[in-house]
Every structure is written in C-alpha cells, then in structure tokens.
Amino acid sequence: MTMLSTYSLEEAIVVARDTYVKISRPRRPVPIDPILRYAEKVESAARGQPYSIKTMIVDVEKNEYRGIFARGLSSSTIYLSHELNDCWKRFVICKEAIHLLVDDSDLRYAKSVRDQTMEAFQMFWPTQSRAPLTSEVFASVVAFEILYPWESRRAISKPPEDMHQEAVDFKIPEHHLDAYFRCTFGILSEEINSGILVP
C-alpha cells in the first residue's frame, strides 16, 4: 500500500482505485468485510505480527460523533454511533480502515486532540486536484471512491434521476452522492479517474 508524504485528491483516487482492485469487485454494493480484511492483512505484513480490527456500536448522545478510530499496535477498534444508518456505517468503517492503510506511522498524525478534532470539523469536498487535504478529508474521499467505484460510474453521463435509489443501490450516504454530483469534487474526480490507466 502506498504510504503518503502529502495528501491530495489525485493521490486519494489512486489509493481508492488500488484498494478497490484488491477487494472483491465488481459487486454492488461493495462489501465492507473485504476492506477490513485487506487493511488487517496490510497492517499484519507491515508489523510482522497478526493485526485485527474490531467494530463496535456505541450508545451516544444525539449527534455526539459518527465514529472514533482507536488505533493500537496489535489491534484497532472502530466505534460507530448507534444513530447511523447502514449506509453511514459502511462509509465510516471504510474511512477509518483507510486511515490504517495510508497513515505511515503510529504517531505521525497524533497531533493534539484539539488539532485532530478541529481538522475533522473542517471537513469539505476538495476544489483542487493537487491541493493538500487533511487526513480526515483524504480518508473520506478514498472511502467514497471505493464505495461508489469509478468502474460503476464511468458510464454515467449525468446525475441519476433518482438520487435516493442510487444511494440505496450502492449503500452510500445520499448526502455524499449529492455532493459528488453537485460540487467541484465530482468534476475533478471524473477528470482524474478518466486519466488513470490502471484498472
């Protein structure tokens, strides 16, 4: 797996395409378990010892958080809010697994808790293909690109008439699908994806 020195939309899409090829394409919706098992396999190889990822549902107060990723040396735990629907659960799990795949050392992004949190609050869709992204935005873009894969998107010439049904078919958050088709992110994503020659 690519270890990154900087984060950009271009790199996010390359990582997503690379990961997608290594899991069970071309099923729809893209299954989550193979993504987790792939992340475990990569981390196990990097550490030279077995590595596992647990996923837990947590009773949270309204809107407290969507997910927390607690990364350890021999295992990680993804905590999900009980308020999330299945589409959001899938997205958050995939996003947190991406953190494990692309963050190249245990403490590299361990800034203060305050900095990490403020990064997360500033989540936005990128507007430039080479602009640096925070790790939170980077992981979000990779997760979206895996769960709404280019392989399925490439034949789409215009936004689906029924956005909700499209979100249901791919089991992705409708909010993100809407953003993809309405924001600059979607245009940039198409440009980058169509220029990549790998599968």
Binding site: R71, G72, K89, E136
Partner: protein
C-alpha cells in the same frame, strides 16, 4: 480539568503503557451538529475508549 486535557492525558498514558495493544492514535469523525463543542466530543471519546459507554460488537458481514 477539561475533557480535552483529560483525554490527552489518558492517551499519553496509553502510549506509554507496556501493553502490546495500547492505543497510539485516536481520530474522530464528528457528528452532524456543527455547533457541537469540542469538550462534548472529547468527553464522548474519552468515555468510549475507556469503556464507560455501552458498546456492542457489529457484524460487518451484514452491511
């Protein structure tokens, strides 16, 4: 002590522990409330990772 400070202190203690599986990094994906305070999130994170919140395993094969 604010929850943010308490969480950072706890995380530092985790990193320094000699347990093989201690937590070395935490990342949050905030909720939908843009006005949610940092300490509210920190408190939720601290309670979650220290096991004070009710948590149950999720069967991801069904997602």
């Amino acid at each position: 002590m604010k929850y943010t400070e308490e969480l950072e202190k706890w995380l530092a203690k985790e990193r320094a522990s000699d347990r093989a599986d201690h937590i070395v990094d935490l990342k949050f994906f905030p909720g939908v409330d843009p006005e949610g305070s940092l300490d509210k999130l920190s408190r939720a994170a601290l309670d979650t990772v220290t096991g004070k919140r009710n948590a149950t395993p999720l069967d991801t094969s069904k997602l």
